[in-house]
Assembly symmetry: C2
Homo-oligomer: 730 residues x 2
């Protein structure tokens, strides 16, 4: 039954993976520098993989438990499809694989980039960017592989049904696969986030503040752990996060498409294929875009940035053009409107990135004002940072709001109301796909940042000349600019994806609802979904805003967000505390450490961060998994409906507040270090260093983890929908 | 048509005001101490009233503008009742009057309390508490007066209609009067909050941190402003806040009662009277409770606390008992259930207070852990405080959630579903009334805190002996304990009141809806509200959770909360900055100031805080007023529905986070000052002082202002409901 154009999806997947392999091989060919550089890189690599191994062990146990629970739901309670427990695992495995390969590339690249920077800035940029591209392409390649595989398998095995039910069934099963990716992403983000910030805060507090030695100084025992942290937190964590968004936005849109074009015969399949094809073509464009990023020797930093942007913009502009033709070819009746939704999604991503840039870069007023507040000490720096971070939520929220309404209106033919509801919701899903379609290259520019950062660390520890460090700093600062855009995409896509997932949740409930009313033995019966009155459904579940269960659910959703953020903050605090104690102990007991005559025990610090992260990531992760199940069990569908929308809206705001406050504090510190308000060593500097340290867990642990939380809570609700529908107390 | 038992309401009002006058006169009789003490008190009084005058000027202008707008809506657009613009003013006037009298009592009391403390702790307690009682009784007395007056007037003037429509109309007009109180409360809280924290932060940063002089030192030019701030922020601000909650919870419950018992003939009036009578009887019990607070000479601090609690518990227990008989007398068919809702409300208030106490008192682990984090510097103190504050939202939210569901279930006869929806919502409103019924005495214990604080300031500045300061400190620390409970009530009642108002909003829309369907010329027609299918209404306005306008509205609601909090934070930062500059200037230019030979220019600092507060309070206040109108105009009823629920849920969480983080930092500092982790003057102490300073605007400006925001946004939506219904774009 499949349309032959679907073949583009597996082809893109294979091409993405092949080019990732090619870039990896190319990077591995370039020399790793002096023996000392190699040793340091080996330390970092060893630490990173030791951590990854430990984390994957924990994740494996969690996956076995969850699979058992889903099997129980599927085969004993019969409230979930039998494919789910098996396929849930593939999402997790593929996400873990992407993390593994991405880390392998990143940890192998750092010394090589540092070495390339000994010769030229340009060589360093190219190498760092191509190594980041490995991560970007592995992520999109594996997502498309997973989707291709299961779409083919399920289409083959799920038996034919009347009208559009087969595709509805296939897509509704596929959405639940995202749960695997979500769960793995949560552990990657939370565990990695705690690891990296425990090491960073610990290294800074004792090294910089107490012992007055510079960052990345080899005498600091926590410095290797700090560099390991950049890899496990920023590279693997960000990769798993976007793996999940990319997969979920495509799968949720496919289900919404199957529902929206239910009565459209063959067109239904085309609507399901649309998000997959757009993602596939976006991936091909990303590969081309990556090749476009070239610079000539002696390029200025501005030219370097322009070169990076050329690649990104090329992919973005061409996906806008090509997606028009894709949709036209697929003959969706409202293809112009759906195309509009894609454009809206892309623009929203760019807009959120711009606003992040405005609120966190020292080129603009907000961050300068935070730096200025350092004249009256650390307290006013913190107050200004919190205030500015909170205000900075306004523009992204307005952008998302406008994007939701516009993408809905475009796809629904400028109508609100029940008749076109599914079309409109499809538009919201497709907007998320549009935003993420060129993920291959945007993630490459993102992963490039920590690689450059690590290269700097390597150069510092290996004692390379100041001109090398200067070059890696230039790469790093370039990375910060592209990272702002990257973060915008990560947060914005999390919100839109979560909304698309939320509407898929309602779709799943609705399918169960029709089933409950008519034929309790099969998952799907013959009553067309669109004909079962929409308000019968709303009425049956009372998912309106006067229902106290909906309101209570919302309160709990907001609570989940605040609690999760608070628990991860405190986790970093505790883990950092242990690191501080260890670093102090080594400074005290290892003779000759401060003179550089004795080597610190780097491995012990890595171990402490690893153990701390493993221990501390359990509570928040269990919270995220158990709250939706409990709320579903106690309060049923209206409770879950409230819970999810409360989580998404407040989680989005809190994530932006945390990311932007942290980013602004970071750059305010750098602004002072550039010589403003007294420069390095002044009281102002000390005040901004405190701000930066406070911002660390906000921007790199709690904030990004919220991206996952809002998607995972919806996912967990989707997968356990049977509990809320069939086994609720109230 | 009125039931004669209604007479209890005006009688309680008059009695409350008489006793307030009596306590005021009694307090004025006691001597004000030395000439220096009198001068200082005069300075503070003058500053406070100068500020109040300035603020009321601004508020007056705002009221004139708003009245004009409401008149336009009522007489030109015909989308609001003609009584609203006039009566809107009385809510504001009465609230302003309550603030005026409360401040008069508080500012007159401080020197007298300090003087009483020269003799005994016990005398000081009694005087401070009775002065706080003036505020408590004036607030409840004026609310009951306002309600009595308008209920009588409207019942007289609104023409008789068939069935229960007359009471629906009367109550729906009365709810909108709360708008006046809300608006005045916003300015009182935001303006007062900015004033007090600008002065406090400014005084501390230069005085304590830079010049190393103690708190309340007369050499510090900002010290009078700091004391003025306690009055305008904590006394007048808290009073206006609870004035509004008390009025709105009664009025919203009355409307919900009129709707729920629409078909019950005479019982409808009784359901409307129930919240008024419970509030009135609670007021009488508060007066008795205040008289019960007596201690013998030489009582220990524990005994003092027990004495205060005896009064509070007496009122609470007796309102539980008496409200049972009131409801039985009123013969509500489900009076047992409604009584259950009242008990739930009271218990919820106490529970939230207990959890505040747990998370902010140094007797428990969370605050001690924050203090412990000072061993690694200010950054970890801040991280721990933010983390703990966020986690601390969990218990209050669970309490509110359980309270919502239980009070709903009790009143609805343990049923969800449309048939009993209005009964259940009435239960939620009544729970808020229950929580606030003994406000007379709880507010007295609350207002007593800043009075004791000011007495300490007076003693310090007047150079009284250390034993006096010790006694005022004991009073102050007692005040902190009662303030925790008070804050719990303020936040908890804000959430429940806002929810009751939200459901009244839907009630108003529903009344317009019936009208729109049937008879466009009269506000209310003859179709019984309960007979017009509930889902016709839900369907007409699409207020379900899949509507993108509802979702977008929610995002904007969350945004409003974060933005408002951020703007007020930054406002404090900016105003404090100006204060710092001024204090530094005086230290630099006034010769002999540090030797105590020259008097600082206190008035200039008061002026700076006043101007700063007036200037800075405008943007957040306008935000709060304009967002609901704009959202209603653009997105109509579904947008507003989402907006309000988003604001209430996230505003509640953020308010608790801010209040508890701030409170915990404050007490962590005190804990270190008591000699832990190095004690006064240690690095740990410096770290906790920074935490405390960060916490100041969180707990005393932004946090409490959010209480008002969530109520005002609902109020503004209720009053401008006609715009969302008749003039929306989407």
């Amino acid at each position: 039954m499949l349309n032959s154009i679907f073949v583009i999806v597996p082809i893109s997947s294979v091409l993405a993976l092949l080019f990732a392999y090619y870039f990896y091989k190319q990077m591995m060919k370039s020399p790793e520098g002096t023996e000392k550089m190699q040793t340091i890189a080996k330390h970092v690599r060893k630490g990173a993989f030791a951590y990854l191994k430990q984390q994957y062990k924990v994740v494996l146990i969690v996956f076995i438990i969850l699979s058992a629970i889903f099997s129980f739901m599927a085969y004993v309670l019969k409230i979930q499809n039998g494919w789910v427990p098996v396929a849930f695992l593939t999402g997790g495995c593929f996400s873990a694989l992407a993390g593994f390969f991405g880390m392998k590339a990143a940890t192998s690249a750092s010394a090589r980039v540092a070495n390339a920077c000994r010769k030229s800035l340009n060589g360093g940029l190219k190498l760092a960017f191509r190594s980041g591209a490995v991560m970007g392409l592995v992520v999109v390649g594996l997502v498309l592989a997973d989707i291709s595989f299961w779409f083919l398998v399920l289409n083959h095995f799920i038996e034919e049904m009347d009208s559009g039910y087969k595709l509805m069934t296939v897509c509704s099963i596929m959405v639940t696969f995202g749960m695997g990716a979500s769960t793995q992403a949560l552990f990657a983000r939370v565990g990695g986030g705690i690891f990296t910030k425990a090491a960073d805060v610990g290294a800074d507090l004792v090294g910089k503040v107490e012992a007055h030695i510079p960052e990345d100084d080899p005498r600091n025992p926590a410095t290797i752990a700090d560099n390991v942290g950049d890899n496990v937190g920023d590279v693997a964590g960000m990769g798993a996060d976007l793996f999940e968004s990319f997969a979920a936005s495509i799968l949720a849109s496919a289900l919404l498409g199957a529902a929206a074009y239910f009565d459209y015969g063959k067109i239904q399949l085309n609507a399901v294929l649309a998000p997959m094809l757009i993602a596939a073509v976006g991936t091909l464009l990303s590969i081309v875009g990556i090749f476009i990023v070239r610079t000539h020797e002696g390029a200025s930093q501005k030219q370097l940035l322009r070169s990076l942007n050329t690649g990104v913009y090329f992919s973005a502009i061409f996906i806008v053009i090509l997606s028009f033709f894709i949709l036209k070819y697929l003959a969706l009746p409202n293809y112009m409107g759906v195309w509009g939704s894609i454009v809206v999604g892309l623009l929203a991503g760019i807009g959120i990135g711009q606003s992040t840039e405005y609120f966190t870069s020292a080129s603009y007023k907000p961050t300068v004002n935070i730096a200025k507040a350092s004249k009256t000490g650390p307290a006013t720096v913190i107050i200004a940072g919190i205030g500015t971070g909170m205000i900075s939520t306004a523009i992204p929220i307005i952008i998302v709001t406008v994007a939701i309404i516009l993408s809905y209106l475009f796809a629904s033919g400028f109508q609100f109301g029940v008749e076109t509801l599914n079309m409109g919701l499809y538009g919201i899903g497709i907007a998320a796909v549009g935003m993420l379609s060129t993920l291959g290259i945007t993630l490459a520019t993102d992963a490039y940042g920590p690689i450059a950062d690590n290269a700097g660390g390597n150069a510092e520890m290996a004692g390379l000349g100041p001109e090398v460090r200067q070059r890696t700093d230039a790469l790093d600062s370039l990375g910060n600019t592209t990272a702002a855009t990257g973060k915008g995409f990560a947060i914005g896509s999390a919100a839109l994806t979560a909304l698309a997932l939320l509407t898929s949740y309602f779709e799943e409930v609705r399918m169960m609802f029709i089933n409950i009313l008519d034929a309790p033995q099969t998952l799907i019966n013959k009553v067309p979904a669109v004909e079962a009155s929409f308000y019968d459904f709303v009425q049956h579940y009372d998912i309106h805003l006067m229902n106290p269960l909906v309101i209570s659910g919302m309160f709990i959703g907001v609570m989940a967000v605040f609690m999760f953020a608070g628990v991860t903050m405190n986790a970093v605090g505790r883990a950092a505390q242990k690191m501080v104690d260890e670093v102090r102990r080594q400074f005290r007991t290892i003779v000759g450490i401060m003179e550089g005559k004795a080597e610190p025990d780097y491995a012990r610090c890595v171990e402490i961060s690893t153990k701390g992260a493993q221990k501390e990531m359990l509570v928040p992760s269990i919270l995220a998994l158990i709250i939706p199940v409990l709320v579903g069990f106690i309060m049923g569908v209206p409770g879950i409906a409230g819970l999810l929308i409360g989580t998404i809206t407040s989680g989005f705001a809190l994530a932006i507040f945390m990311a932007n406050s942290g980013g602004a504090w970071d750059n305010a510190k750098k602004y002072v270090e550039e010589g403003n308000f007294g420069g390095k060593g002044s009281d102002s500097h000390a005040a901004t260093v405190i701000g930066d340290t406070v911002g660390d867990p906000l921007k790199d642990t709690s904030g990004p983890s919220l991206n996952i939380l809002i998607k995972l809570m919806v996912m967990a609700s989707v997968v356990t929908v049977g509990i809320a529908v069939s086994y609720h107390l109230l």
